[in-house]
Amino acid sequence: MSRPTRRQVLNGSAAALAGAVLAAPVALADSAAARPAAGHGHSEGHKAPGGHEMPEPFDEVYQGRHIEGWPADEEAPENGSRARSGGPASHGTRASRGSRASQGSRSSHRGRAHPQSGQAGPHDGMDFVVRIDNDDLHVMRNADGTWISLVNHYETFTTPRALARAAVRELQGADLVPVVTG
């Protein structure tokens, strides 16, 4: 049994989303075929809304900083479990949970994510969670499949890992702080 994802819990709509998770793969296969991912996908990656494959999770130390990332609809890594996520069994688990949950949740999400309502949560609107030394880095996927972060917001990267590494270089040892949006 898959537990509710972080985002489902956040939205309080796990039951409504369960149907979307089950129903979505066929439609997504269509959109993926119609618009193949451009050079950044993994064969074992997730299919995501818009047809781009969701990058694989990562977890490494880069220039002395712990950087990690995973699809936003999955569980946060707890006591190192993320490091085990590369195997075939866990891949099956991820695939069944699927990233389409985020498609269903996005519309309900949007009112809260958009600035009119004030405070944006750290993962609002995000398809992929990136952390540096356990602090959230807000990231966003562009329509062409490239990625940007709040630290490098006018420059695109092919993967969240490349974006996280660029943020580490930009931070020069500084810690991320929670985003203030007024």
């Binding site: 600035p115 917001h153 500084a174």
Partner: protein
């Protein structure tokens, strides 16, 4: 009628009045509200969702209104102050007078990128980074480090020659003038300048660097130039586009102004 001038043509007094008004907005807390608003839209605007301030047709009118609001705030301090623009196709060197200590201050120092002198240097105590994405509390720059060259006039002209304002899917993957000016497509104009300046200008909290306003003022001027070149090309889309601000839709966060209200800048200011 307010006249917006090239920053290179400002007198010493005009520079001082501009800087002093900016510092007063900072002291009073009003400046940081602009940073918060910008950061909120940067985070909220997404290619497949609601988008207003960036990566969408309303990028240009949204920033036009945002700059007008900031200019009005400056004028509440000193009525004669107007926004200057930075033509980065001409003043394209870290040695430009823009970066002198009587105006915006210079490049960041090597090592930590801290701007060491000028009115906005950390040491002056008048320019704290209150709205920030990381722990550093000093203004940073690394001019020309993130990308070597600013856009050239030839690249600007290539974008100005585009006849269509914007195109479906009305986001960062669109063809047309707006997305090529914004920089997600083509030679990369607006985005590249943010990267060239470096420091806070590369982040969602980019208005932390006062050059933000001069950069966007020139982007706004390029929109006006484009309109003159293509008098028969209008703002698009004009109706019923989900998640996108149509010509007569009101824009957040003001909710009382539409792109149509902002097409003619001469109602508000002219460019010298």
């Amino acid at each position: 009628m307010a006249v917006r001038k090239n920053q290179a043509d400002l007198t010493a007094t005009e520079k001082r009045n501009f800087v002093d008004a900016v510092l007063e907005l900072k002291r009073s807390g009003r400046y940081d509200e602009f940073i918060s608003t910008h950061n909120a839209f940067i985070i909220g605007d997404t290619d497949n969702g609601e988008r207003t301030g960036h990566r969408s047709p309303s990028f240009l009118p949204w920033h036009r209104r945002f700059l007008l609001q900031f200019e009005e705030a400056l004028q509440s301090i000193t009525p004669s102050v107007t926004l200057p623009y930075w033509d980065w196709t001409v003043d394209r060197s870290p040695r430009s007078s823009l970066w002198a200590d009587d105006f915006l201050g210079g490049d960041g120092r090597s090592g930590d990128g801290r701007v060491p002198s000028g009115p906005f240097a950390f040491g002056n105590g008048k320019w704290p980074m209150n709205i920030r994405v990381d722990g550093r509390t000093f203004l940073r720059r690394s001019l020309g480090a993130g990308v070597r060259e600013l856009p050239t006039r030839a690249e600007v002209d290539r974008v100005l020659a585009m006849t269509v304002y914007d195109a479906a899917p009305w986001n960062s993957s669109s063809d047309g003038f707006r997305n090529n000016v914004e920089g997600w497509r083509g030679p990369n104009l607006h985005n590249r300048v943010h990267v060239w300046v470096g420091g806070q200008m590369t982040t969602g909290a980019s208005p932390n660097d006062p050059v933000f306003w001069l950069h966007h003022c020139f982007i706004d001027k390029l929109w006006a130039e484009w309109q003159r070149l293509h008098p028969k090309s209008g703002y698009l889309p004009t109706g019923s586009t989900p998640d996108v601000v149509d010509l007569h839709d009101t824009m957040k966060p003001w909710n009382d102004v539409t792109p149509a209200d902002l097409l003619d800048h001469t109602k508000f200011y002219t460019y010298a």
